[in-house]
Symmetry: C2
Subunit: 570 residues, 2 copies
C-alpha cells in the first residue's frame, strides 16, 4: 500500500474525551473514528489489525474442529421468548420493530438462534458433538459506552457454541477450546492469563476468563507466584493459614462516640485494622425465620459479595439492610455493630474466626468492646469464605502467595449446561432411541476488544508497538526526499515491489512530507519494522533498518533488505 492512496489520518493532539491509552492511540493513529456513543468507523489501519485478529481466531477455531456459520444480527423476539431472556434481559438488549410491527432484537449474543438451529438440524446422537462458531457483529446497548472499542455498543465477537449428550463430552470440548484460546493469545503475542471465573446466574459447572494483563483493566486477577493458579478476585478462595491465638485480654466496653469506621478506631484509639472487625448486615433469604443476617470480615479485608451471595441464609441478589432496619433489629446504627449479643444469625469470614482479643461495636450507639474472644464472650461462629483475597495471601492451590494484577477480559468460556436446550427443548435421539436434551458449552472472544487490549500492553510515549502478528503493516519504507532524488525513488520502488512479491505486508510512505513527519507517523501507527532509504546510504549501497520495539538501528545492504525483513519477522 502506498500512503498516498491510503487514509492514514493520524492526529497530533490527544483527543480530550479519550481516557485510556488504547483509546487515545487508536484515535491518534487513525485506527477508529467515533460515529456516535459506542459506535465507531474502523479506518484502514484499524481494520487491518481487526482482520488479523479475526484470521488467527478463525484458524485456531478451525484447527480445534469448530465449524464456522453466520447468524443474523437481527433476531426475532419469539426465540427470546422461548428462552425466557425476552423478559430477563435488561435495557442492554436493543429491541426494535419491523415495518409490520413485529418485534426483533439486535443480537447481543446468539444462544437462542444457535439452539433453535441445532434443534432443527441435528436429529441423532451420531451427529454430536458439534461445535459451531461465528465471527460477527454484536450490539449491546451499554448505558455508558467508554474506552473506545474496549466497551463499545457495536463490536465484533467470535462466539462458539458446542452441543453434547454428556458432561464428559462437554468437558472434552471445553478443554479443546481452552487450549485453542491459549494458542490464539500466544499467536497474537499477548501477555494473557486464563483465570477461573464465576459462573454467575447462568450456573453451570466451570468457566474461565482469558485476561490480557494491563493496568487499565477493569478486573482484578489473583495469581499465584508459585503455580499456574489464576482466578478473578471475585472467585479466588481466601485461605486462612493462621491458628487462632489464646485469649489474653478481658472483654471491656469503651466509649467511642466519634468512631464510626475502622479508620476512626485506628486514629482515635490506636487499634490496628487487623485487630478489629466489620459487621455488615444484609437481608436474609426469604424462607428464613430472620429478616436480617450479619456478615463479619476483618477490618482490613473487603467483603466479596459474590461469595456472600452463595450463603443459603442470605437473599439473592445480595441486599444490604437500611439504617432503619438495622436500628429496629439491633438497637444500634452501623458504626457501633458487633457480634456480641447480636440477635441475628452471624457468619464470620475464615480470617475473623481465627482472631482473638479483637475489637467490634457493642450494639449500643457510641460504644465498642475490646478483648472479644470466640467461645468465651460469644458462641463459636458459622465460618465461611467471605472476603476478597489480597496480595500476599497464600494461594488456594497450596503453592506460593497471591499477587493481584489488573486484566482486560478478552475471552470467556463456559460450561453452559442445559439452560437454553431445556427451555427450547433442543434434544436428539440418544443411543437408546430416547429423546435426550443436549448439554451445551459457549465460548466467546471479544475480537475488537483484543485490538484495544493489545495496545494497552504494547505502547510507549511515541505510539503503538505492534506485535508482528497484529501490525497493520509489517514493514514501512521511508524514502528521504524521494521527490527530489531519482536514485532514492528507484531503490524505494524496487524494494516495495520486492517486499510485496515476498508476501510481506508493506506500506510505502510516498507522501511529499518531511522525514520527521513520516517517522513520527509511523512510530505512532506502530509498524514494527522500518526501512529508511537516503542518498547517503545509497552511496554505500545500504539502507537503514530500524526496529520499533527496541529502537535498534543498523545498516543493511540494499540487496539483503528483503531477507533481513524476512528473518526479523520469523
Amino acid at each position: 500500500m502506498r500512503t498516498s492512496q491510503y487514509l492514514l489520518s493520524t492526529l497530533k493532539e490527544t483527543p480530550a474525551d479519550a481516557e485510556v491509552i488504547s483509546h487515545q492511540l487508536m484515535l491518534r493513529a487513525g485506527m477508529i473514528r467515533k460515529v456516535a456513543a459506542g459506535l465507531y468507523n474502523w479506518l484502514p489501519s484499524g481494520l487491518r489489525v481487526l482482520r488479523k485478529v479475526e484470521q488467527v481466531v478463525r484458524e485456531e477455531m478451525n484447527r480445534a474442529g469448530a465449524v464456522e456459520v453466520l447468524m443474523p444480527v437481527v433476531q426475532p423476539a419469539d426465540l427470546w421468548e422461548e428462552s425466557g431472556r425476552w423478559e430477563d434481559y435488561g435495557p442492554e438488549l436493543c429491541r426494535l420493530k419491523d415495518r409490520h410491527e413485529r418485534p426483533f432484537v439486535l443480537g447481543p449474543t446468539h444462544e437462542e438462534v444457535i439452539t433453535a438451529l441445532v434443534r432443527n438440524e441435528v436429529a441423532s446422537y451420531k451427529q454430536l458433538p458439534l461445535n459451531l462458531y461465528q465471527i460477527q457483529t454484536k450490539f449491546r446497548d451499554e448505558i455508558r459506552p467508554r474506552f473506545g472499542v474496549m466497551r463499545g455498543r457495536e463490536f465484533t465477537m467470535k462466539d462458539a457454541y458446542s452441543f453434547h449428550l454428556s458432561q464428559e463430552c462437554l468437558e472434552q470440548t471445553y478443554q479443546t477450546m481452552f487450549d485453542a484460546y491459549c494458542r490464539i493469545f500466544e499467536r497474537l503475542g499477548l501477555d494473557y492469563r486464563p483465570v477461573i471465573a464465576d459462573t454467575g446466574s447462568i450456573g453451570g459447572s466451570a468457566s474461565h476468563e482469558f485476561h490480557v494483563l494491563a493496568d487499565s483493566g477493569e478486573d482484578d486477577i489473583a495469581f499465584s507466584d508459585g503455580s499456574d493458579y489464576a482466578a478473578n478476585v471475585e472467585m479466588a478462595e481466601a485461605v486462612s493459614t493462621t491458628e487462632r491465638p489464646e485469649a489474653s485480654e478481658a472483654l471491656t466496653e469503651f466509649d467511642t462516640p466519634n468512631a464510626k469506621t475502622i479508620a476512626d478506631l485506628a486514629e482515635q484509639f490506636g487499634i490496628k485494622a487487623e485487630n478489629s472487625i466489620k459487621t455488615l448486615i444484609v437481608k436474609a433469604a426469604e424462607d428464613s425465620e430472620y429478616e436480617l443476617v450479619a456478615l463479619l470480615v476483618r477490618g482490613d479485608h473487603e467483603l466479596n459479595e459474590i461469595k456472600a451471595e452463595k450463603l443459603t441464609a442470605v437473599a439473592t441478589p445480595l441486599q444490604f439492610a437500611s439504617d432503619e432496619e438495622i436500628k429496629a433489629a439491633v438497637g444500634a446504627l452501623p458504626g457501633s455493630l458487633g457480634p456480641v449479643k447480636l440477635p441475628l444469625p452471624v457468619f464470620a469470614d475464615r480470617a475473623v474466626a481465627a482472631m482473638a482479643d479483637f475489637v467490634a461495636g457493642a450494639n449500643v450507639d457510641g460504644k465498642h468492646y475490646k478483648g472479644i474472644n470466640w467461645g468465651r464472650d460469644l458462641a463459636e461462629p458459622e465460618v465461611a469464605d467471605l472476603r476478597n483475597v489480597q496480595a500476599g495471601d497464600p494461594s488456594p492451590c497450596g503453592q506460593g502467595q497471591l499477587d493481584i494484577k489488573r486484566g482486560i477480559e478478552v475471552g470467556h468460556i463456559f460450561q453452559l449446561g442445559d439452560k437454553y436446550s431445556q427451555a427450547m427443548n433442543a434434544g436428539v435421539l440418544g443411543e437408546t432411541g430416547k429423546h435426550q436434551i443436549m448439554t451445551m458449552g459457549c465460548y466467546g472472544i471479544g475480537v475488537s476488544r483484543i485490538v484495544a487490549a493489545a495496545i494497552e500492553q504494547n505502547h510507549d510515549d511515541r505510539g503503538i508497538i505492534w506485535p508482528d502478528a497484529l501490525a497493520p503493516f509489517q514493514v514501512v519504507i521511508i524514502p528521504m526526499n524521494m521527490h527530489k532524488s531519482h536514485r532514492v525513488k528507484e531503490v524505494a520502488d524496487k524494494l516495495y515491489a520486492d517486499l510485496q512479491a515476498a508476501g510481506i505486508d508493506v506500506l510505502f510512505d510516498d507522501r511529499k512530507e518531511r522525514p520527521g513527519v513520516m517517522f513520527n507517523d509511523m512510530e505512532l501507527v506502530g509498524i514494527p519494522h522500518t526501512i529508511i532509504i537516503g542518498e547517503r546510504g545509497l552511496d554505500k549501497q545500504v539502507v537503514e533498518y530500524k526496529n520499533r520495539r527496541d529502537g535498534e538501528k543498523h545498516e543493511v545492504a540494499i540487496d539483503g533488505a528483503v531477507a533481513h525483513i524476512q528473518s526479523a519477522l520469523s
Copy 2:
C-alpha cells in the same frame, strides 16, 4: 474437513415455500436456513461460498486502489437528517431508538456515514481521489422478502464510495471500478453483462448495472447481437429505422361498440396491432397550461414509463389520468381515444411518427378512425422515444439487432455527483486555496445475492454445479465402505492429508453412509471434483475421478490423484 465433524444438513425434499431454484437448492444443499422472513443463518457450506465471493471482491477492490474500512450497522439519525434521507427514505429504512430514546437506523447503505467521515478526515485536494469500501452487513426492511438470500432483509454488501474534485477524476475512478467489476465476475466464473442503467431520482451522469444472466432474473436486459451494447430495458433507446410511407387511404370513421383494446380491434376487424395506436393519458407537469397530456405508442409496443417521465410536459412521478378526468377532458373513455381532434398536447413515440394509414379511437365512445395520416388529418406530432425496446429492434449502437434476456442485478456503479457532499457540506481546500465541495461515485456489489445468482446459472436436476472459484470445497473424497475396508480407509486418509497439504479445499465424506447417499449429497452440494475410492480400484492401484459439471469419469493412479486434481483446478 471431515463430514463427520461438519454440519452437512442436506434435505431430500424441496421446501414448499421456495419459489426459485437457487432458494430451493440453497435450502436442500444445507447452505442457509430461515430464521425469520428475510433473515437467514448461513450454514457452513453456504458461508464457505459467501467468503469466497467476499475474498475475490476484496482482492479486486484492493487491486483497483480502493481501501477497506468498516462502518457500523447502527447509524445515528442525525446524519440522515443532514442528507435529507431521514425524511425521504420509505419504510425499507429500519428506524429504532436506543435506551436513551435517541433515534438510529440500521444502515441500508452508508453514503451518510462515509461522507461525514471523509468530510472530517480529508482536508486537502492533495489527498484526493480517495476510494473507500467495506464488505458489511446491511438491513433493508423489504415489504415482501423472497427468493431466499436473493431478496433478503439482512444481507452482505460490498459498498465503495469515491471522492473527487472534478468530473474527469470521477470518470477515471468510475472506469477503474467498471474494469474491477468485470474482473470480479469473470473470476467468479459467471455469465454476466454490464448494462447501461437508469440514474433514477439521484441524477448523476452515468450508471451501469452488472447482471448475471438467468431466466429467473427480475430485470429485462436488451443486448445487441452485433456489439457489446447492453442496457436495462428501462434505458435502451428505441431507434426507428423505417421511413413513413405515403398516405394511401382516406380518413374513415367506423363503429366499434365492442372494441376497447388493440386485441379487440384485431379480432373483430382484422386490424393488425402494428397498424393501430394506443393513446395513454397522463397528468401534465404542474406548470403546464394543460391538466393532461396524451402519449402515443404503436399497438404492439409498450409504454416505457421511465422514458415518459423524462418529458418536461408530464408530471413526475408519472401518473395516469382516471377515467373521469379523461371523460371530462376528452368527452370519451379509454378504448375510444385517439390523436385526431384531441384537445391535449400529444407526444408520439418514434415508431408512431413513422406510421401511415393507421387506426385509432375517434374520441367518441364506440367509434374509431382508420386511414389516419400525420400532416393531412392532424398536425405533425411532437416525437419522443417512449416505448420499451423489443427483441429484433435495431440496436441503438448502430450495430446488430437487440435480443432481450433476463438478468439478476448483482452490481451497480454510479456517478453520484454532489447530492450527499453538497447536503452535508463535504469539501476540501482546492489547489487555489478555496473550499470546494467534492464529487462522489458509489459502487455496490450484492455479495450474498451473488451466491444465489451463481446457482441460478449453475445447476442441474441433481443439484448445484459450482464454478471452481465459488465451490464450498473444491474436491470431495468418497470412500466406498471405508468402515469395512481397512485398505480403503488407509488410502482415503492419505489422500485427504495429501490434498490438504497441497492447499486444496477438500471434504472427506467419512460418514457411515451407503455410497449412493454420499454421491447424492455431494452432487446436491455441487462439489466440482470427486475422488471415489473402492476396493476394486485399489487392486489396480487406481481411484476414480468424476467431474460434477460434465459427468466425465475416469480412473487415476493413486499416486497421481493430487496432481490430477491440481491440473483440473488450474
